[in-house]
């Protein structure tokens, strides 16, 4: 999921190495304080490239304004007066997936919603994170025997944080987002393990038959 990102990081690191080598060579040739400053500047850019971007990512998680069922009411309460979610930088609910970082799946996902949820996830820009909010998104919840839902969103999307409860309290979402921030800070976010839908072997074992996307009713 983050492959292109890693590539970019690597390329950036190579450029960094090259640049610091050049600067070191130059400083050997001409011994002036300006060159010493340059070497330190390169360290500085290195630190900035690592830290600043991650700092920005951690502190401006924009969730998707996307509710499915009952848990979405707690999601609304999360954005309302009792819990002031804005103080942590979470509140900017955006209606278009192209501006989102986090997708909070709140509610049961029916088979007819699977292609739509997947498409929404694909439209989000990388790096993107998924929170399974509530029993339904985690495992199917009270409806897990129903013929029309999938037992948890992790069958189609990689999930970063699970929140248990039916519905979880809005405070739990706060905790989940803080957990996600920790994950991003420590660079653990975004599991590289293929999801069941991508991994044919696992899909065969668990016997999941996801509905084919129907091009005639494309949305």
């Amino acid at each position: 999921m983050n492959d292109d990102l890693l590539d970019k990081d690597e390329r950036f690191l190579n450029a960094e190495k090259k640049m610091s080598r050049l600067v070191l060579q130059a400083s050997k040739k001409y011994k002036t304080p300006v060159n010493a400053m340059f070497t330190r500047l390169s360290d500085f850019t290195k630190a900035v490239s690592k830290g600043l971007i991650r700092w920005g990512r951690v502190n401006s998680l924009w969730p998707a304004q996307f509710g499915l069922a009952c848990c979405a009411i707690e999601l609304m309460d999360f954005g309302a007066a009792r819990i002031d979610a804005e103080r942590k930088g979470y509140l900017l609910f955006r209606a278009t997936p192209r501006q989102n970082d986090v997708m909070i799946v709140a509610g049961w996902v029916t088979k007819s919603m699977v292609p739509r949820v997947k498409r929404m996830y694909e439209q989000m820009a990388s790096p993107r994170y998924v929170i399974a909010f509530g029993e339904c998104a985690t495992s199917g919840g009270p409806w897990w025997e129903s013929y029309n839902i999938i037992q948890g969103i992790d069958q189609v999307l990689p999930v970063d944080v699970y929140v248990a409860g039916c519905p979880p309290q809005p405070e739990n979402l706060f905790a989940a987002l803080m957990k996600l921030q920790e994950k991003i800070r420590d660079k653990h976010a975004g599991s590289k393990e293929p999801t069941i839908s991508e991994d044919i072997k696992r899909a065969e074992i668990s016997g999941i038959h996801l509905p084919e996307e129907d091009n005639s009713s494309r949305l």
């Binding site: 304004q65 996307f66 509710g67 499915l68 069922a69 009952c70 979405a72 009411i73 707690e74 609304m76 309460d77 309302a80 007066a81 009792r82 209606a95 509610g107 049961w108 029916t110 007819s112 919603m113 739509r116 929404m120 009270p142 409806w143 025997e145 129903s146 013929y147 029309n148 839902i149 039916c166 519905p167 309290q169 949305l219």
Partner: protein, 365 residues
């Protein structure tokens, strides 16, 4: 001019869930709106037929998640009727109190989201959720959970009343009246609100009856019909309250009817609290299997839910319902969207949809 077809949803911030609308436009004027439903379908009725009576309670309350207790109470009454079980008088009073608090909570969420849809972004939303949080806190102390209270048992409740419940409820009512009457001063003088609601989305009286809409949508069109008055249950016939109705059936009337209903509900709660004794006897029995000798007949129960008239039709069996069918008010109200949007501008579509107060889980079931 040629007709343009626009698809709205199912993932859309203003459809209040996952509703898909296919809108035909002539220029900017709506010619036809076709709601497509079923994105939340999980087969509740079928699941309930495979569950014991006491297990289904947590299914019914997830139908309308803005007022879970109302559906819960409707289902429990159906089981009580099948088992020919009387509800204790004190428990009746407490049920009425809880039902009315749920009605207020549901209308408050509606008010907040409707104002969001219309362009009064977040002011009323924040206020109404603040008041709703107070109500939920009181009900949480009564039942143990915040949103889904599975606290009904045969003939009563599963827990005794907390000690200072009455005082807290009286205080809460005072607070609600004080705060909610302030909303009017923000909402009604607002030119944007008036422009977007008055004479928009008109549903005439005869059309409303023809479509079979229920609840505040029906009453806003000028039909004075409320199950609480028409077929009184529990202690509603001993209480004094009015049924607010509208005259034109436009969006403003639908807002006004719900807004007035909040105050009527507070009045009902105050009267019911007066009737409630200090140490009420409200404990019920756990829901058990239906006695094989009882020979239960078909059960039909009507209730006035916050969204309209809810009906459960049940053919009981000994362990589980043989057949159960739910009449969800939102399901019927949704299909009024075509009638009230035809001929208006595309921009009015979401004001109209918001004014119907639909819950998708109840529609799709």
């Amino acid at each position: 001019m040629s007709i343009v077809r626009i698809n709205v949803g199912p993932i859309h911030p203003s459809t209040h869930g996952v509703l898909r609308l296919v809108v035909d436009l002539d220029g900017d004027t709506i010619v036809n709106v076709e709601p497509h439903i079923g994105f939340l379908h999980r087969g509740v009725e079928k699941l309930m037929e495979n569950r014991m009576y006491m297990q289904s309670q947590s299914y019914t309350e997830k139908l309308d998640y803005l007022a879970p207790f109302s559906w819960d109470e409707l289902y429990t009454s159906a089981v009580e009727q099948a088992m020919k079980k009387e509800v204790k008088p004190d428990a009746q009073i407490l049920r009425v109190i809880m039902l009315e608090y749920q009605r207020i909570a549901s209308h408050l969420v509606w008010l907040g989201t409707f104002c969001n849809d219309i362009g009064q972004i977040f002011t009323i939303f924040m206020w109404s959720f603040r008041e709703r949080a107070r109500i939920l806190k009181l009900l949480e102390d009564l039942s143990g959970t915040r949103m889904f209270y599975v606290n009904l048992r045969l003939g009563g409740f599963y827990k005794p009343l907390p000690k200072n419940f009455k005082d807290r409820a009286y205080k809460l009512n005072e607070y609600l009246v004080e705060k909610i009457s302030e909303y009017k001063d923000v909402i009604e003088p607002d030119p944007v609100f008036n422009e977007r609601t008055k004479n928009i989305g008109v549903l005439p009286k005869d059309k409303a009856i023809e479509l079979g809409v229920a609840g505040p949508v029906l009453r806003a069109s000028g039909v004075r019909y409320d199950i609480r008055k028409a077929m009184p249950y529990y202690i509603y016939d001993k209480l004094k309250f009015k049924i607010p109705i509208g005259y034109k059936g436009d969006n403003f009337d639908r807002y006004k009817v719900r807004y007035e209903e909040i105050f009527q509900s507070i009045k009902i709660i105050d009267q019911a609290l007066d009737m409630l004794p200090d140490n009420p006897d409200i404990l019920g029995q756990p829901i058990k299997l239906i006695n094989p000798n009882a020979n239960p007949d078909i059960v039909v129960v009507h209730r006035e839910l916050p969204k309209g008239e809810g009906i459960i039709y049940m053919v009981p069996d000994k362990q589980r319902p043989y057949r159960i069918s739910l009449r969800a008010p939102s399901f019927i109200n949704t299909f009024a969207i075509n009638e009230i949007s035809k001929g208006y501008k595309y921009a009015d579509l979401f004001a109209n949809l918001g004014s119907l107060d639909i819950v998708l889980a109840e529609i799709d079931r």
